[in-house]
Subunit: 208 residues, 2 copies
C-alpha cells in the first residue's frame, strides 16, 4: 500500500513549502515567534486552509488561537525537504547566467552545493568564479565519477543544448536543470527540469 518509490509530496506542495520557508526565514530575522495560516495565506494570496493542509502533511501541529512556532515549522520544512543533506552539482556553461548562478550563495542554504563549472572556452577554463574552478568540459566525466556528482545545471547557449545533454547523459549525470530555452531529448531515467523562464513570465503577465 505504501509504495516507497512514490513521491510523498506533489510538486505543488513542495513549491508552496519552499515559499513558506522564505516567509519563515524572514520571521526569524525579525524575531517573530509565531506564524498563523491566515498570515501566510495573505502574503501568498492563497486560501488559509490550503496552508493548513500543507503544514499538516509535515505532521506539524499548531496552537489554536496562536498559530505555529515559526522556528519549529522552518526546521520541519528543512528536514522534510532535505535541506540538510546537501546535494552536489556542476554548472555547465560559465557564461553570464552560469556565473550568476555560481555566485548565488543562497543555493547552499537549500542544500545545493555547486562544486565547479565547466566550459569549452579557453578564456574561461582555469579561472575561478566565486572560488569555484572552471574546468574544460572534457574533464567532466572523470570529475563526475570521482566526486559522485549526478546533478548538472545547464546554462549553455541554446545551439549546444542537446549535444551537451547527450554528453551529460553519457557522463552518468542523472538530473539536468535546464536553463536553456530548449526541450531536451533524454532517456527516461534522466530527470530534466526545464527552467522555463518565459513561460513563467507569461503566466503572470498574461491577461491579468
Amino acid at each position: 500500500m505504501n509504495n516507497p518509490n512514490k513521491k510523498k509530496f506533489s510538486d505543488k506542495v513542495i513549491n508552496r513549502l519552499t515559499l513558506y520557508h522564505c516567509i519563515l526565514t524572514d520571521y526569524m530575522l525579525r524575531n517573530i515567534e509565531f506564524i498563523s495560516s491566515p498570515q501566510i495565506a495573505a502574503l501568498l494570496k492563497i486560501d488559509d486552509s490550503q496552508v493548513r493542509k500543507d503544514i499538516s502533511l509535515l505532521n506539524n501541529v499548531g496552537k489554536c488561537r496562536v498559530g505555529y512556532i515559526a522556528r519549529d515549522l522552518k526546521e520541519n520544512i528543512e528536514k522534510t525537504l532535505g535541506f540538510e543533506k546537501p546535494k552536489d552539482a556542476f554548472i555547465i556553461g560559465a557564461g553570464n547566467l552560469g556565473s550568476a548562478l555560481a555566485k548565488y550563495d543562497n543555493f547552499a542554504n537549500y542544500g545545493l552545493n555547486v562544486l565547479a563549472l565547466f566550459d569549452n572556452s579557453s578564456l574561461k577554463v582555469d579561472t575561478k568564479i566565486n572560488d569555484k574552478q572552471v574546468f574544460h568540459i572534457s574533464k567532466l566525466p572523470d570529475l563526475a565519477e570521482k566526486l559522485s556528482v549526478e546533478i548538472a545545471i545547464m546554462t549553455v547557449p541554446r545551439e549546444f543544448a542537446q549535444i551537451t545533454a547527450d554528453f551529460l547523459v553519457k557522463s552518468n549525470i542523472k538530473y539536468i536543470w535546464n536553463f536553456t530555452p530548449t526541450v531536451l531529448f533524454v532517456p527516461n531515467n534522466i530527470q530534466v527540469w526545464n527552467e522555463n523562464l518565459m513561460g513563467n513570465f507569461l503566466q503572470f503577465t498574461y491577461q491579468k
Copy 2:
C-alpha cells in the same frame, strides 16, 4: 457569459504552450514541416491527448495521420500568448543575476524588452550592460512614468527586497518578477511572480 477579464488559459496551459514553442523553434531550425502530438508528448514525457487538448484551445486544426503544420502552430502560439506585442520592463539590481538577465537576449523573442537597469551603487550607475543603461534607483519613478513601464524584474539582495518592492509600488509598477528568495508584501492590485528557484530545484530532485 464571456467575461473579458477572465483569463483564457490556465497557468498550466500557458506553461506547456511555451514548451511546445521551444520544440517548434527547434523544428524550424531543422526545417521539419510537421509535428504530431505523440512527438511533443514524448519529449515532454506527458500524455499525447494532453497536447491535443492544449492545441485545440488555440483553434488550431491538425491533419489526421500527419499532425500539425509546425510553422503555423508556432505562429499561432506566438499570436495567442502575445509575443508580438512587446512589453517593456526594467531590471532592478545590476548585480550578477540582473546583469545576466540583461544579457539574455532570448527575452526579446518572447515579447519582453528590457529597457534599462537600476541600482544604488555609484560603481554601477552610468555603466552599460548589453547596451542598456544602468540608472540610479532614484530615477525610476520618473522614467517609469515617461516610458509607461509597468514591469520590474527584481534581482536585489534579499535584505532590500521588501523596501524595493514598496518603492516599486509607489512608482506605479504593476508587475514584479521577483528573483529574490523572499515573499513580498504588496497591495492586491500588484501582480508578483516569485521565481522560486529553490522550489523548482527541489521539485525535480525530491524523491525521484
